[in-house]
């Protein structure tokens, strides 16, 4: 969904800059929050412009430096940016060779490059010298000759992330670690429920507390700015605010996503009909580092230091919030805690900007853990109703699917957008002659928005659990049943490979079972096998996971593995442990005790990720796909282990016991 396909006409100067000392600066509006794109981009650029990777500096998302970008979502960063940066770097190299050719009065064809210099005719000129105040520029052509693969030193090689050393020494500056001169701390007074309006504020006692510099109100945002964090929090708690409570409801909509004719008739005349309902609770993004922002608002301009997926969008929002021209606001993204979609909304950024404007000083605002759970947007609940009709040979003839959920992004309610976000992966990847797929957005009081993989995890849980149930209802092997309905050769390959690698079908032992699931997520092909052990009391332990992923051309195989492993681990936590409780839109599970996530003790013995990208296909994203099929793979494994079919997440021991009893 990123960009919705707008035309790009880019100039080299927006993408690659060579500094006098030979540093190559690569510019992208994308953001790295742990998915490793800074490293992947540096690999490409170092190879194409031919410099050691230590000489590449990747600038991401700084609105004063980088070209406009719509946002970092949907595992698109590498797919969208890699080809462009590669072309830009190759184009830059060609320009450097041409400059050297003119200077040496030699034909460009007699020159080559080597580690940051143009060489030929017994001469060597460093890139920095060739720039000499005149930056490389010009429209990046569609076709640029690229480095032959044999000369690529970094792309395709496993590499630890470039930030690793700063992270392990503690030097990395996360947003909440920034310390500006004269910086104060902020805290916001939270309402009793979402959407409440301020009737009046009595700040007399709050103002008397130590360290308080300002009490700031802008509409329904009320906060305190103080010398220290503890002081700001204490004073915010001491504000007496009269709130008018007005419950908010989420939107409603109906989006037909696939409507083949004759689905009803085909279902009615099928030899076998199966109908099931799957349910997923709301869950939290639950970043380890709560939302934070630093704002420095002056009369004539503002700088905000933030974690965000969309620096340019946030720039506009900040400008509007504090009444400045967009051009006088600079957004500087800093390294942040992973937020898995949550940072698409700039809540803390806008609040920090309001506080800084009110106090006329730079302000750091970091939410508390309770605020992060209570006021962040969450993944909405989902109810998936699915039915299928099969012929007497056990082949699917017709499919009906209704997805009931709420919005998964702040991207808007246009049906086409909803279909790509809240309806993501609702259409099964199988060859089914006749299908009806409808997305129904139903009201909720919970604040819902961007979450890793959007609705794909919910839909694929339902579709892949259902595929297993169809196989079992018609006495077919779940692997063979999937394969006979797969037409796409890349999907077939990952499914076959994961089955081979895991020894799917071999008996894994007492109380253990293996389950398989697959999907195509934004052109990334992924298949997984989970092995679980179910205790007599119904407790599920994830023992190991095998995954085969085909993300097209692979730039950093270890980076891909790390992302996919993380997606599996995180999604296993959603599947087995997580459920957010809320009342009238207010989340009541606001700590790690009430909302447990997987710990070191829950991590599986191994997560085997085989990256087998089709080198001829363009690189696709890996930040999300790993998280998508694992819920169904686990549910299918639980069924294989003990015959319990759990259709509602999380898969608690209670649900497993009930499912066993209900067999």
């Amino acid at each position: 969904m990123s960009g919705w396909g707008e035309e790009r006409r880019e100039d080299l100067a927006q993408r690659i800059r060579v500094e006098p000392d030979g540093t190559v600066v690569a510019l992208s509006g994308k953001i790295d929050f742990g998915q490793g794109i800074r490293t992947a981009f540096a690999q490409i650029v170092a190879d194409e412009i031919d410099v050691p990777i230590e000489h590449v500096r990747v600038v991401l998302g700084d609105t004063a430096e980088t070209p406009f970008d719509f946002g970092t979502f949907g595992s698109h960063s590498v797919a969208q940016e890699a080809p462009l940066l590669r072309k830009a770097a190759a184009f830059a190299r060609r320009q450097l060779i041409e400059r050297a050719a003119r200077r040496l009065a030699l034909g460009a064809e007699r020159l080559d490059t080597e580690a940051g210099a143009v060489v030929g005719g017994g001469r060597r000129i460093a890139y920095g010298e060739l720039v000499d105040g005149r930056h490389l520029a010009g429209p990046i052509p569609d076709e640029v000759p690229l480095m032959p693969p044999a000369r690529r030193r970094y792309s395709g090689q496993p590499m630890p992330r470039l930030e690793a050393r700063d992270i392990v020494t503690g030097r990395a500056t996360y947003v909440a670690d920034l310390r500006l001169d004269g910086m104060l701390r902020g805290a916001i007074a939270r309402p009793p429920s979402r959407g409440a309006k301020v009737r009046s504020v009595d700040d007399a006692s709050a103002r008397k507390l130590p360290g308080v510099v300002a009490v700031v109100r802008d509409g329904d945002v009320v906060g305190v700015v103080a010398e220290r964090d503890e002081q700001a929090r204490a004073a915010a708690a001491a504000l007496e605010i009269d709130w008018e409570i007005t419950p908010l409801e989420g939107p409603s909509a109906e989006v037909p996503m696939r409507q083949d004719p004759g689905v009803d008739a085909a279902l009615a005349k099928a030899a076998k009909q199966v109908e099931r309902t799957y349910v997923l609770p709301p869950i939290a993004n639950a970043p380890i580092g709560p939302s934070a922002a630093v704002a420095d608002v002056r009369a004539d301009g503002a700088t905000v230091y933030v974690g965000t997926h969309r620096p340019f969008g946030i720039r506009e929002q900040v400008a509007k919030t504090i009444g400045l021209e967009t051009a006088s606001v600079r957004v500087v993204p800093l390294i942040t805690s992973g937020t898995y979609g949550r940072n698409t909304l700039g809540d803390a950024t806008l609040e920090a900007a309001i506080l800084s404007k009110g106090a006329r000083r730079p302000v750091l605002l970091q939410w508390t853990r309770e605020e992060e759970f209570a006021w962040s947007p969450s993944r909405p609940e989902a109810v998936l109703e699915v039915s299928a009709g099969l012929d007497d040979g056990g082949r699917i003839l017709a499919w009906r699917y209704e997805e009931h959920t709420n919005v998964h992004t702040a991207a808007g309610l246009e049906p086409r957008v909803l279909g790509m976000t809240s309806g993501r992966n609702a259409i099964p990847p199988y060859a089914i002659p006749s299908a009806s797929v409808v997305l129904r957005i139903e009201p909720t009081r919970l604040r819902t928005a961007n979450f890793r993989s959007l609705a794909a995890s919910e839909n694929v849980f339902a579709i892949e659990s259902f595929m297993d149930e169809l196989a079992s209802e018609t006495k077919q092997d779940p692997l063979a049943f999937r394969l006979r309905h797969i037409a796409d050769p890349r999907l077939r390959r990952v499914v076959e490979r994961v089955a081979e690698r895991s020894g799917f079908g071999e008996g894994p032992g007492e109380r253990r079972g293996r389950g398989i699931a697959c999907t195509i997520y934004h052109d990334t092909y992924v298949a997984q096998v989970a092995e679980v052990e179910v205790s007599p009391a119904g407790a599920v332990r994830l023992v190991r996971v095998w995954c085969v992923v085909d993300p097209g051309e692979v730039l950093n195989p270890d980076g891909v593995r790390n992302q996919v492993e993380g997606g599996i681990q995180q999604s296993a936590s959603w599947t087995l442990l997580e459920e957010l409780h809320h009342r009238d839109g207010r989340v009541v599970t606001t700590g790690w005790d009430a909302y447990p996530i997987a710990t070191f003790r829950d991590a599986p013995e191994s997560i085997d990720v085989l990256v087998e990208g089709d080198p001829a296909a363009p690189p696709t994203g890996v930040g999300e796909p790993g998280a998508v099929p694992i819920a169904a793979a686990i549910a299918n494994a639980v069924y294989a282990a003990c015959g319990a079919r759990v259709r509602e997440l999380p898969i608690t021991r209670d649900r497993v016991r009930k499912a066993i009893a209900g067999r």
Binding site: R161, R228, I288, P290, Q569, W592, F600
Partner: protein, 153 residues
């Protein structure tokens, strides 16, 4: 109120209310921001420091209590620019994604290896069970700690 904290082998003076948390004093008074806020309730491990040889949540210690202890933060793990074996192993194995929780893991792992240089995998899991990681690098972190233990032998 003035207190002297012993952090990374040096005496550091802070002038704050005695009830202020060690976490705040490290971050806001001493500029040691590798120790991070995650929950303020000792439930996530992001703010772990080594206090008298044990990994503890600095959000739950007051400055007053901490003044009687020897404190080590992530900033004190490397020696003259050379990474400690635990730091090196985490970097080499890319046992991190966003890295926000990494400091706390490094602290738990260092405290573990100081008291038990040859832990098995289960002991590593137990020692780091208080460190939550949302990006899901548990498997790599376990391998990193075991690799560091080998390097220390």
């Amino acid at each position: 109120m003035k207190r002297t904290l012993t952090v990374n082998g040096a005496g550091r003076e802070v002038d704050v209310a005695p009830s202020v948390s060690l976490l705040s004093a490290l971050r806001d008074d001493l500029g040691l921001t590798a120790t991070r806020y995650g929950c303020g309730r000792g439930q996530c491990g992001a703010c772990y420091v080594i206090a008298d040889g044990r990994a503890v949540a600095s959000c739950l210690l007051t400055v007053d209590q901490a003044a009687r202890m020897e404190i080590t933060t992530v900033e004190g793990l490397a020696t003259d620019g050379t990474l400690s074996p635990v730091q090196q192993a985490f970097a080499d194995l890319d046992a991190m994604q966003c890295g926000y929780c990494t400091s706390g893991m490094l602290i738990s792992a260092t405290a573990l290896l100081d008291r038990d240089p040859e832990p098995d995998e289960a002991e590593v899991r137990d020692a780091l069970a208080g460190n939550l990681c949302r990006c899901g690098v548990y498997g790599r972190a376990i391998r990193a700690v075991l690799t560091a233990a080998e390097a220390l032998r």
